[in-house]
Amino acid sequence: MASVKFDNVYLDSHFVIGGPKEKNGKLDNFDLTIDDYYYESKTVEQAEVNMQKTVINNLLSKKNYQDTDIDYLIGGDLLNQICATSYSARNFAIPFIGVYAACATFPLSLFHGANLIESGNAHNIICLTSSHSLSAERQYRYPIEYGNTKPNTATCTATGAVGVILTNQKTKIKIKSATVGKVIDMGIKDVNHMGAVMAPACADTIYNHLKNMNKTPSEYDVILSGDLGKVGVSILKEYYEKVYNQKLLNVIDAGSSIYLDSQNMYAGGSGPVCLPMVLVCKILQNPKYHRVLIVGTGSLHTPVLLNQSETIPSVAHAVEIEVLS
């Protein structure tokens, strides 16, 4: 049974940092936007660490908490050995759990956090994730200044950091259940077509979640997929209808909801920060959404194995959120 129900886990305050392109995009309601990719630091990797530090500091000061009031810090990012999160965690006296599921890191950390709170072993937990378009570019693709042409199926890593506090005190936003997905590999090798890589994993997790929870897609006001992009989300709908014989009508893709068409960002945004950014800045701000299913989709590839002609495995994790009125 990969699905878990929670009765006593709530989402408390949140803090979102958006990068320069995100600031000019479709979303508003950021807590902080930055104009400089370097964010008062010498390298882009340090900028990502700095963004995470700012998020944790602001989450703590928002609630007037000390480090000791938080039981665990759970988070991850895209960089090697999830270094951005580890390096930001060294500034705080909070026990740290690093998780990695590429762009599905946020729902996975919510899952771990919710489990700890539900079991009574923790009261307050910070779940944190970030991505930086330039540090990801260096990690996965080419040097920052290197210009190359991309197909329209390619996605661009979003810049930002998001942190939330999970708590056992009742708030308006409840974490109801979560499903951890299987790793699925359809044999695709194209790094410029992540939507196609991740859509089957996303479909599988949505199907398993609905089956385990005995629900239909229409029982949710919105199913927010992670970062499939414009092409990937249409693949998801088509694939789901063909394989599972059900229509997904209420899917919104987080990656496609960040940038304007005029920003020329190919198929949209990607990165672990997309999903929580759109969740916090758009979905939770809109009173018409009450029952929300977020499905983070992660492509678990590494440039090393890709160069050795390996295919790209992907995973998706789902978390059900209810906004209580």
Binding site: R138, Y142, P143, I144, E145, Y146, G147, N148, N264
Partner: protein, 113 residues
């Protein structure tokens, strides 16, 4: 890019009185200089998005890939950064270019005598 280079070749021939072969080398160097400088100013990658492959094949592409890799690894130091990563992208083209040139040169000597 071809048109600009041809223009430069003719310009150098007219102004400095170079032969066509000399003028081609100098034009090539000029293009490399301009590309590297535009890369350093952070303009070239935006131009490539508009100009696509017309802008990066072949000499400017090499210059651009080397300049961008060098800028990128500047913070990692001279030895572990710039030295070991400058040819990160252009390395295979240069290595196989040299190897191919060696064999084709032998082939040329054998055939033409």
């Amino acid at each position: 890019m071809g048109i600009i280079s041809e223009g430069l070749i003719n310009l150098y021939m007219m102004i400095f009185g170079y032969s066509r072969v000399d003028s081609m080398s100098v034009a090539c160097l000029t293009v490399i200089l301009i590309t590297s400088m535009l890369t350093a100013f952070g303009v070239f990658d935006n131009l490539v998005e508009k100009g696509k492959c017309g802008l990066i094949i072949p000499t400017t592409g090499f210059a651009h890939s080397m300049a961008s890799a060098t800028i990128d690894y500047k913070k990692d130091g001279f030895i572990k950064g710039i030295g070991s990563n400058a040819f990160k992208l252009a390395g295979s083209a240069i290595l196989y270019g040299v190897v191919a040139a060696f064999f084709f040169c032998i082939l040329g000597v054998v055939i033409n005598g």
